[in-house]
């Protein structure tokens, strides 16, 4: 045999071919010829390597270096560098998503490292069109053993003992199926292979056939001996031309080699097989329909019994096994049932191949032991969800299966667990869905598929799936009705129970499973016409507007920026938002996460554009609104929720008084957010506008102390409690009581109240400060501490990608020189003379997934370390401070120290005089959520008053009609989001001046032009 110094294994699977691997191979051949390396280097075209999304793939042996997304033009350089000079070409290597770490060798890439290859043991290693290469990897040895050393009974027993279950989806024990067929008496029997893989998103069988067709043939010959068959068929869908091509070659080669056909291996056993091409009906994957189709009839299922083992193809005993099942057989016979059963779970043995696809970084083919955690498949092998999105659910079993949501990422994937969670193993399609997928729309998609693929024979499937689709379609279009969910459930139960074949019986699964896990989403669609994923576009104008808690008319103000009509743009902002210049700086901009432009390149900088309007145009002048209503309303807390409610109520003619304990209004906007993010004059301006309407803000007045709650109740008709969440959570570690241990919000409040003392050093954190936590207030505290001259270390118990803080805040903190230690948790704070001297921390590692889909940090035993610090700021979360409330008020406070609301009106408490909203109800949340709560409270209070007075409901005055130009560019060129200019790092570290400088006119217009105007109705 010729020896080569290097083997280049270029993937020739359908995926890689589609991304151009044949052209790459061609240029490799030419380059190797040109450089006279043909005698030293061999090029092999293999079957699917599995890393499909990154194709064309090439692996260089003996080093095992893997090159990804190759293009023909990369080849000369690659040959020159790697094969002649021996230098690995860095730029063509794999980079780990998230960390960007370069991993040169295949086995070190987590995608491959976590896999256990049995069915796919030859993938990407052998040329599937050469039988010798298969034989060299123990190919046909299992068959030889079965044919020469084993009786049919022994073969059946071995397969039974292995615990192998049908990989087509139903999981029926393969050995048992064979046993029944073996017992059937008939001179003619058939061995059938089901390669009619039709689930959307599934491509396991195709890859096996393309990469290792002989493994399937070997399995079929063994099966033939086991049941006494002489003839077989492979039913392969015609849409798999490459698989059929390679199968044909494999059959011809096996016949030529005496491994198929008459007198196999001289044992006197005959077995011949042919390929039957399916015409693309999903139902033909059902066994009786498949057999009917081979018989030349319309592929429709027939009732069982009789079962195929008794009367199958042409009424003769037949077995039908899936490609993956058969590909396991050779090795089970060769290496024994015990070996096979050594991996897997109690009732699900061996490995399972999954086609991993959807919203996951590493789309591809993976083989893992049964019982591998879903989270391991999605995150470790799959590389997690791209673009920092959240995992929502994984669909298993395609249109017949169900979804497994985020709270079950720790679930071991085997037949039993998957069924328990309402999905099915299916043939192995595993579609990962991120937060941008709508549960109802997903159910609708799969139901559309099923009703389209229903053969039409039985009523429940034919008519039932169509009606379910109609209902689902209505729900996604905002036309859902009360009772629809229940009707869907009832129909699902009947269809599952009464349909003729597996297609119909499983068709309702995606609906049932999404109702089980995402019922709330269905209800939101039906009742509120809301799609949290912003998918169901019939219900909204644009995804950004739909996602904004106060439904700001984003497309309009962006269009008006483009038209340079900032006056009108500002009016649009104020239609829904009393704090546009604040939100232009500190909003968490959920709108941007759903921006359609983000699917192309990056979302529009909506937040910055909003700020651009408020920075560059005068605030519209505010006229006082006369008091026209007799009811007097008190608002407790001058934060964004309270002030928004006060403003809305004042506009409706109410006399509103806002009570604020501290000496400045603004709530967290003033006391929690540092001025380098939100300059004070900006905030003051917008609060002044609310005052100008006639709202009275009484500062330095604490309800419960300066004015008792009972007094307030007497003086005012309705009271809105919007007191926020201003108390830091305790860490519950020893030493927390020491001096210079602060809560995050307490520190920021203290700083804001006593700026002078802090600046002049009368108050000091000392030289070294540790901040505990990973949210925005931890970053705020850290950056303030830094500006006070401290060296700051943030201690966070998880990883960077898990931090709740805004990524741009984390980046800014790092730029300013703040050190962030990940995977650490505080153990105890040490001190002397009542003062902090050090903090001892525990190193953590990531364990199982928690219900939010993040990995739970667990201690690394014995790994402790101590940091010398002078202060500790614990910013691990806030809770409302309810000590002001009077227990006799009748207002309920729940176990999270929040107000309970929802007494007929969303924001009303158990006492009908009291309404509540904002962080005091939800716990710490965003500014925009507080503004939304304020709007809600104003609506509710007004509605309650009018109801009590028997007045008609409030009719909002018509909004000023602002003509919004619709300019849509013909072409869209990929352009990243405009960069926000920032103050120089060195300068800003010394100052509380605003860091972000704002867009200039050119940048803003350019950015506004990026908007795709998906609000347009054409």
């Amino acid at each position: 045999m010729k020896i080569f110094r290097s083997h280049l294994l270029i993937c020739g699977g359908t995926g890689c071919q589609a991304s151009g691997s044949i052209a790459v191979k061609q240029s490799l051949v030419e380059e190797i010829e040109k450089r006279n390396l043909a005698e030293e280097i061999k090029i092999v075209e293999t079957g699917c390597n599995g890393f499909c999304a990154l194709g064309p793939i090439m692996v260089v042996y003996p080093e095992g270096v893997i090159y990804i997304t190759l293009k023909p033009e990369d080849v000369p350089h690659l040959v020159e560098e790697h094969l002649i000079k021996g230098r690995i070409v860095d730029r063509l290597l794999y980079r780990e998503p998230g960390t960007d770490k370069v991993i040169p060798t295949m086995q070190d890439i987590p995608f491959f490292a976590y896999q256990e290859l049995r069915v796919l043991k030859n993938r990407g290693l052998i040329d599937p069109e050469k039988i010798e290469e298969y034989i060299a990897r123990d190919g046909y040895a299992g068959m030889a053993k079965a044919l020469t050393e084993m009786t049919p009974d022994q073969i059946v027993q071995e397969v039974l003992d292995s615990g192998l279950r049908g990989r087509g989806g139903a999981g029926f024990p393969t050995g048992l199926k064979w046993k029944f067929a073996a017992q059937s008496k008939s001179d003619i029997k058939y061995v059938l292979c089901n390669a009619d893989e039709g689930d959307p998103g599934a491509f396991m069988d195709r890859s096996v056939l393309e990469a290792d067709p002989h493994a399937v043939l070997e399995g079929m010959v063994i099966a033939a001996k086991a049941i006494g068959s002489k003839h077989g068929y492979i039913y392969c869908r015609a849409e798999y031309p490459l698989a059929i091509h390679r199968l044909n070659i494999a059959i011809a080669q096996a016949k030529e080699a005496g491994l198929l056909g008459k007198n196999i291996l001289g044992t006197g056993i005959d077995f011949d097989l042919e390929i039957y091409q399916g015409a693309g009906a999903f139902v033909c994957g059902e066994e009786t329909a498949l057999m009917t189709s081979i018989e030349g009839k319309r592929g429709m299922p027939r009732p069982r019994p009789p079962f195929p083992a008794v009367a199958g193809l042409w009424q003769k005993p037949s077995i039908l096994n899936n490609v993956e099942t058969l590909a396991n057989i050779g090795q089970i016979i060769l290496r024994g049932a015990k070996w096979y059963a050594s991996v897997g779970t109690e009732k699900s043995k061996g490995t399972k191949v999954f086609a991993l696809t959807g919203d996951v970084a590493n789309v591809g083919l993976v083989e893992v032991p049964m019982g591998t955690k879903l989270g391991t498949i999605v995150y470790d092998i799959g590389g997690g969800i791209p673009k920092g999105k959240k995992f929502k659910a994984a669909q298993l079993g395609g249109p017949s299966g169900g979804c497994i949501p985020v709270q079950h990422l720790n679930a071991p994937v085997d037949y039993e667990k998957v069924a328990e969670l309402g999905a099915i193993m299916g043939s192995g399609g595993l579609i990962v869905m991120n937060e941008d997928k709508c549960a109802v729309d997903m159910a609708r998609f799969f139901m559309d598929f099923c009703q389209d693929e229903s053969c039409g024979k039985c009523t429940p499937c034919r008519e039932g799936t169509k009606r379910m689709l109609d209902i689902l379609t209505n729900i996604t279009q905002g036309k859902g009705k009360e009772g629809d969910i229940e009707l869907l459930e009832e129909m699902a139960a009947v269809i599952k129970n009464a349909a003729l074949c597996g297609l119909g019986q499983t068709a309702p699964n995606p609906v049932l499973s999404t109702i089980r896990y995402f019922r709330k989403e269905y209800e939101q669609h039906i009742r509120d016409h809301r799609c949290v994923a912003a998918v169901c576009s019939a219900m909204f104008k644009s995804p950004c507007q739909h996602t904004c808690p106060i439904e700001m008319d984003i497309p309009s103000y962006i269009a008006l920026i483009r038209a340079e009509r900032l006056d009108d743009a500002y009016k649009i902002l104020l239609q829904t938002n009393p704090f546009p210049s604040v939100c232009g700086r500190v909003c968490d901009h959920k709108c941007q996460t759903k921006c359609r432009r983000g699917n192309l390149d990056e979302p529009i900088a909506i937040k910055f554009l909003k700020r651009f309007i408020t920075d560059n145009h005068e605030r519209p002048k505010i006229e006082p609104v006369p008091v026209t209503r007799k009811e007097r309303i008190a608002v407790v807390g001058a934060g964004p929720a309270g002030l928004t409610a006060a403003r809305d109520l004042a506009i409706r003619g109410y006399k509103v008084t806002v009570f604020e304990e501290l000496n400045k209004p603004g709530g967290m906007l003033y006391w929690g957010i540092p001025s380098y993010r939100l300059p004070r004059n900006i905030l003051d301006g917008e609060i002044d506008d609310i005052r100008k309407l006639g709202v009275e803000i009484r500062l330095n007045t604490r309800i419960g102390k300066d004015i008792p709650v009972a007094q307030l109740q007497k003086d005012y008709d309705y009271i809105y409690l919007a007191t926020g969440a201003h108390k830091s959570q305790k860490m519950n570690v020893p030493g927390e009581e020491l001096k210079n241990v602060f809560g995050g919000v307490e520190f920021l409040r203290d700083f804001n109240a006593n700026e002078d003392k802090w600046f002049k050093g009368k108050l000091s954190l000392g030289k070294h400060v540790a901040v505990i936590g990973g949210g925005n207030s931890a970053i705020d505290a850290a950056r303030v501490a830094l500006r006070l001259g401290a060296e700051v270390t943030i201690l966070y118990r998880r990883l960077k990608q898990d931090m709740p803080a805004a990524p741009e805040e984390i980046k800014a903190a790092e730029e300013e020189g703040i050190k962030i230690e990940y995977l650490v948790a505080p153990l105890r704070i040490e001190g002397s003379k009542g003062k902090v001297s050090a903090i001892t921390c525990q190193r953590m590692k990531l364990g199982d997934f928690d219900s939010s889909g993040r990995k739970k940090p667990v201690p690394v035993e014995g790994a402790e370390f101590t940091l010398k610090v002078d202060s500790v700021i614990a910013a691990i979360g806030q809770v409302p401070d309810m000590s002001f409330m009077d227990s006799k008020s009748g207002v309920e406070i729940n176990k999270w120290d929040c107000f309970n609301t929802g007494n007929i009106y969303k924001s009303r408490t158990a006492n009908p005089k009291f309404f509540a909203g904002g962080d005091a109800v939800t716990g710490p949340d965003t500014v925009i959520a507080a503004i939304a709560a304020g709007h809600q409270a104003a609506d509710d209070i007004d509605a309650a008053i009018r109801k009590a007075n028997n007045e008609p409901a409030y009719a909002k005055p018509a909004r000023e009609k602002i003509d919004v130009p619709l300019v849509i560019d013909e072409e869209t060129v990929e352009t990243p989001q405009a960069h926000m200019p920032e103050m120089n790092v060195e300068k800003r570290k010394m100052s509380f001046a605003e860091v972000e400088l704002g867009f200039n006119r050119e940048t803003a217009i350019k950015e506004a032009c990026r908007c795709l105007r998906c609000d347009a109705e054409l």
């Binding site: 024979k457 039985c458 009523t459 429940p460 008519e463 039932g464 009606r467 009832e490 129970n497």
Partner: protein
């Protein structure tokens, strides 16, 4: 030899079935009613409509009683809540998927879907009625097809393929767009259909109807008379339906058994116009001389004339100058007598029959 008996329980009643019998057959034998729609005796049990579902203890789901063979010790329940709710849902789905307007439907009163709706006590379907909107096929003189009323039970397909073996009908399309028809979506008249009308006879609803009978009489207004088909010597048994002494339509009847087992051909089923046609010959006509008009005469006169002429021809030209041709529309007995007459009276073997042509 009596087949092995299989003991089982249906609705709490201990019964015995023959091995290989279906649950439905056994229930019917024992007077237990299970509704059906697609089921049609002497054709394959397809289990398509799912109206006949029953509960079988320890089964994974409901089972279609029409195609589930009995097994020893089986415990069957035909009237549980799950069964009824499935049956109702199925019938509602069928109802709402078509144009089941009984006001004008020829099948009104003899419709199996109507009976199911009534038996299951369904006031109205929970789904909006959405007929598919197919054009009514009305371009032949015998069969009208309105696929908007089709419930896709497949009886016509089985009747065409299994009973008559004409192999004209099958399903096409998929899912809710599935429909029945000849190949390439052709009309009956443009297909290989021979208009035996078997499809019409088995259709449980008003999708395939007897065109000549349209608006001619409601099922309950018709009286039924058993008779033998007059078209050929097979002697097919059939029912003639009349109203006010007028024939409205003809149908086969499975209960009559041999020779036709309830099937008919195009002539027997649709060729009935002549019976009451004004042009029908009821008395002999005679033309004595060449250029003379035909004149109505009595039977005696007619037969005397024939006898005279035949005797004269035999005398001058010999017996073999006479040939006799009998009709397939005569009975076997009449044909026997005819050949006897030719051979024994005329004295020739020149006798033949139209069915041999």
């Amino acid at each position: 030899m009596e087949k092995k008996r299989v003991p089982l329980t249906i609705d709490g009643k201990d019964v015995e079935a023959k091995a290989g019998q279906t649950i439905l057959e056994c229930a019917r034998e024992n007077g237990i009613f299970i509704p059906t729609l697609c089921h049609y005796e002497k054709t394959t049990n397809v289990g398509a409509c799912r109206v006949c579902v029953v509960e079988v203890e320890n089964a994974r789901s409901l089972v279609a009683s029409c195609c589930m063979p009995v097994s020893p010790g089986m415990i069957v329940r035909t009237n549980t809540e799950a069964v009824r709710s499935a049956q109702k849902m199925i019938v509602e789905l069928l109802w709402s998927s078509g144009d089941h307007n009984c006001l004008t439907c020829e099948q009104n009163g003899a419709c199996e879907l109507q009976n199911l709706v009534y038996w299951l006590k369904i006031d109205k379907p929970r789904f909006e009625i959405e007929p598919p909107g197919y054009a009514i096929e009305d371009n032949n003189t015998m069969i009208q097809r309105d696929l908007n009323k089709c419930v896709l039970c497949g009886r016509c397909v089985r009747a065409c393929n299994e009973i008559q073996v004409n192999e004209v009908l099958d399903f096409s399309m998929r899912g809710s767009r599935a429909k029945v028809g000849p190949a390439f979506d052709a009309d009956y008249i443009n297909s290989s259909c021979v208009f035996c009308g078997e499809c019409l006879q088995v259709c449980p609803v008003g999708a395939i109807t007897f065109k000549q009978a349209k608006f001619a009489g409601r099922p309950w207004e018709l009286s039924k008379t058993r008779t033998t088909c007059t078209y050929c010597g097979v002697g097919c048994q059939m029912d003639v339906f009349t109203k006010d002494g007028k024939i409205i339509k003809i149908s086969g009847n499975r209960d009559y058994g041999k020779p036709n087992e309830g099937s008919l051909c195009v002539k027997g089923r649709f060729g009935m116009d002549f019976i009451q046609h004004p042009d029908r010959l009821k008395k002999p006509l005679l033309r004595r001389n060449k250029n003379e008009e035909l004149k109505e005469v009595s039977w005696d006169e007619a037969t005397s004339f024939i006898a005279e002429k035949l005797a004269a021809i035999k005398k001058t030209g010999g017996a073999d100058s006479i040939a006799g041709l009998a009709s397939a529309r005569c009975t076997n007995e009449e044909n026997y007598l005819f050949q006897k007459f030719m051979r024994a009276v005329i004295g020739t073997n020149n006798v033949d029959h139209c069915a041999r042509l």
